[in-house]
Amino acid sequence: MNKTLETVQAGLARRRRRESRFRWYGRIAIFVSLAFLAMLIVSIVARGHKAFWQTEIAIDVFLDPEELTPPTREHLAKADLTGLIKQSLRQMFPEVRQRRRKRALYRLVSSAAPYQLRDYVLAHPDRIGQTVRLWVLAGADVDLYQKGYVDPETPESERRIKDYQIAWLRKLESEGRLVLRFNRGFFLNGDSREPEQAGIQVAFRGSLYMMVVTFALSFPLGIAAAIYLEEFAPRNNVWVDLIEININNLAAVPSIVFGLLGLAVFIGWFGLPRSTPLVGGLTLTLMTLPTVIIASRAALKAVPPSIRYAALGIGASRVQTVFHHVLPLAMPGMLTGAIIGMARALGETAPLLMIGMVAFIVDPPQSLLDPATALPVQIYLWADSPERGFVERTSAAIIVLLLFLGIMNLAAVLLRKRLERRW
C-alpha cells in the first residue's frame, strides 16, 4: 500500500510537468497558426487597402455644341470626345508644346475620361455650350504615384512617371484639382485592361449567382441523399456500401476533375453555353455534393436514437419520424456542412478554368446564362497582369473575397444558433 503511494508520489511531479508541457504545446500551436493568419491578413490589407481609393482630376471642359449636338448615345459614340478632353488639358497647361510631352500630358487622365464626359453630357444636355468642371479618373501611373508607390529617389529614366509630370501634378494639387476619392468604380465596373477602371462587379455577381445555383441544388439533393442513406437504406447491403465508399472518395477528388466532368457533361452533352454562372454553379454542385452528404449524414447520426424510438413508439411512421423529429434536430449540422462546402466552392478556380470562366468579361451578367467570371478567377487574372496598378487591385479583390467568405460563415453560425434545439 505504502509502496504504491510512493510510486505515485514519485511520478506525480513528472506527470504534472508533462501535462503543463502539453498545454504549452497547444498554446504555441494556436499562437503559431494565429500568427500566420494575422500575417496573411495584414499583408493583404496593407497592399490592398489603397485600391479602395482612386485619384481623380478635375478638368474644365468646354461642351462644344458643334461636337455634342444632338446629345444622343448614337451621336456621341461618333463624336470626338477624346479631342475635347485633350483640348481642355492643353488649355490648362498651355506651355506644353513638344509632341512627346503632349502625349504624356494626355496620359494624366484615364482613357475612361471620354466616356465619363459622354455620361455627363447624357445626364446634363442643358449644359451644352458651357464650360464645366468635370472630375475624371486619373491615369494608372498618376494614381500609383499619388498613392506613394513610386520612389522619387529612383533615377528619372527608370520611372514611368517623369519629373515634368510630377510638376504638373503638384500644380494640379495646389489648385485643388487632384484628390483621392472613394473608388466606387471598383465595385461597379467589370474587368478592364486599365487598372484604374477595373472592377469586381462581374466577378462578384458571377460568384453570387454560382453560389445560389450551388446552394439550390446541392442542399436539397445532399439532404435527400443523406436521409435516404442514413435512415432508409438497407444495412449491410453491398450496393449501399459501394455508394457510400464512392461518396467518400468523391469528396477527396481534386477539383479540376470536376471541371473536366462539367465540361464534358454540361457543355459537351447538354450544350449549355460556356463561361456562364449556370454551368459554373452546376460544376461546383458536383464538387460540393459529397461534402454536403457526408456532413448531413454525420448530423443525422448525432441525433440520439431515443428520439426515433420515442416517435416510433407513439405510432409515427418512419417518414413522420424523420421529417417531424430527426430532421429538425439535424438541420443546424446540415446547414453548417452545406455552408462549409460552399465556402470551399467559392474559392475554387481550377474547375472554372475548364468551363471557360477564366475570361475577360466587361458587361455584368444579367442572368444565369450571361458570361461571367468569379472572384477567385478575377484575382488570378489580375495577379497575372503586367500593369503595376493591378497589384493593389488583386489584394483588394482578395479582401472582398475574404469578406464574402466571412459573411457566409457568419450566416452559418447565426443559422445554427437560431435552429439549435437542446434536449
Binding site: 485592361r193 441544388l217 436539397p220 435527400a224 449549355l272 466587361v362 458587361d363 458570361p371 503586367p386
Partner: protein, 348 residues
C-alpha cells in the same frame, strides 16, 4: 415537394440554356495569354465605343485555344483565336476536317522575350545566344571532345565564358505549358544551338533529335520553373540580384524601375530595337478569324477594323502602351487589307 420543384426548375433552365446557346450577340475570342492583354484592350474599347456588346476573351493558351477554335462552325464555338505562334499544319488540318474551311490570318505585331535582372544587380549582362544555350540546355557538346553530347556541366556563368560574372547560373522561367517557353526555346536556345555546325547539320537528317538537343532545358535546378505568373518572377529577381528571369517584353516595360533587360547578342531589349528587328529574341503574334462567323455573330468586321486601325496597332497606338511592338507600316497595310477583305489563309 419543394425539392422536386427545384430540380424541375434546374431542368427547365437547362432546356432554356440549350435554346439560348443557339444565338450569341457578343464576339468570343480564345487563346494565348500573351495576346490576351492586346485583344482585351481592343475588346474593351470596342465595347465602349460601339453599340455592340464587349467581346468575351478567354485566356486558354495558344494550343488550348486552337482546339476550341477548330472544333467547328457555329455560335457555340469561338470566332477568334489569339496565337503567340503561327497555326500548325496539324491544327489547320483539324480545323478543315471539322468544317472550319476559311480562316483569316492576321499578324498583329511582335513580342520580345527578355532575360531580365534586378536593377540592383552589380553586373551589366551582355549575353550571346550561344552562351544562353550553354547555360540552360539540358545537353551540350563536350568542350573537350566536340561532337559528343554531355549533360550540362556548367554551374557558374564564368565557366562558360571568362567575360561573364562568377556567379551560379540561376534563371527563372515559364513552365512547359507556356507559349513564352516555346518561343524562348525556339529563338534563344535554338539560336545558340545552331552555332554548332554539326548540330545544325542534324536538322535535315534527324529533325526529332535536333529538336531534342536544341529545345531541351536542363532540369538540375539551374532553370527554375516559376509558374505562369510573371509578376512573381519580378519579385524573385528583386529578392536575389544574381538571378535572371525570362518573360515577355510588356513586363519589362511596366517594371522598368525594378528590372533591366540583359543585352542579347549586343542588343538591348528596347521598344525601338525590337520594332527594328534588331533584337534577336522577338516573335510575331497573330489572331485567326473564322470567316464563316462574319455575319453570323454581329460586329466581327467592325472589331477587326478597330484592331487593325492605326490608333490601335499603329506606331503610337494604344496597343503599344500595352507592350505590343508594332509591325512596319507596309506590313500593317498588308494585314489590314487581309482583315478588311477577309482573305482566307491558303496554306502554310
Amino acid at each position: 415537394m419543394k425539392f422536386s420543384r427545384l430540380i424541375l426548375g434546374a431542368l427547365l433552365a437547362t432546356a432554356a440554356g440549350s435554346a439560348l446557346a443557339a444565338s450569341r450577340d457578343y464576339i468570343y475570342a480564345v487563346g494565348s495569354s500573351t495576346v490576351y492583354p492586346f485583344t482585351t484592350t481592343v475588346a474593351e474599347r470596342f465595347g465602349k465605343a460601339t453599340e455592340f456588346p464587349t467581346p468575351k476573351v478567354e485566356s486558354t493558351g495558344t494550343g488550348g485555344g486552337m482546339k476550341l477554335f477548330c472544333a467547328g462552325v457555329g455560335v457555340q464555338h469561338p470566332d477568334i483565336e489569339d496565337a503567340s505562334r503561327r497555326i500548325k499544319k496539324s491544327e489547320l488540318e483539324r480545323c478543315r476536317k471539322n468544317g472550319v474551311k476559311d480562316i483569316v490570318e492576321i499578324k498583329i505585331g511582335y513580342d520580345g522575350i527578355v532575360m531580365a535582372h534586378s536593377r540592383k544587380a552589380p553586373h551589366r549582362w551582355n549575353l550571346t545566344r550561344r552562351q544562353i544555350f550553354l547555360a540552360l540546355a539540358k545537353q551540350i557538346p563536350d568542350p573537350e571532345n566536340p561532337g559528343k553530347l554531355i549533360a550540362n556541366p556548367y554551374r557558374t556563368w564564368r565557366q562558360i565564358d571568362p567575360s561573364l560574372p562568377d556567379i551560379a547560373i540561376k534563371v527563372y522561367g515559364p513552365p512547359p505549358t507556356s507559349g513564352t517557353r516555346d518561343a524562348f526555346a525556339e529563338l534563344a536556345l535554338e539560336g545558340g544551338c545552331k552555332t554548332f555546325d554539326w548540330i545544325k547539320a542534324i536538322k535535315h537528317e534527324d529533325k526529332k533529335r535536333y529538336k531534342a538537343i536544341c529545345h531541351g532545358i536542363r532540369e538540375d535546378g539551374a532553370y527554375v520553373e516559376a509558374g505562369e505568373n510573371d509578376n512573381l518572377i519580378v519579385q524573385k529577381l528583386e529578392a536575389d540580384p544574381n538571378t535572371l528571369g525570362i518573360f515577355g517584353f510588356s513586363f519589362l516595360d511596366q517594371n522598368v524601375d525594378k528590372i533591366a533587360g540583359a543585352r542579347v547578342d549586343g542588343v538591348e531589349p528596347t521598344f525601338e530595337n525590337i520594332a527594328a528587328s534588331q533584337y534577336p529574341l522577338s516573335r510575331p503574334l497573330f489572331i485567326y478569324v473564322k470567316k464563316a462567323h462574319v455575319g453570323l455573330v454581329p460586329g466581327i468586321a467592325q472589331f477587326l477594323d478597330e484592331y487593325t486601325s492605326e490608333r490601335a496597332w499603329g506606331d503610337e497606338g494604344y496597343l503599344t502602351d500595352k507592350g505590343l511592338i508594332p509591325m512596319p507600316a507596309a506590313e500593317r497595310e498588308k494585314y489590314r487589307k487581309i482583315a478588311r477583305q477577309l482573305i482566307p489563309l491558303e496554306s502554310l
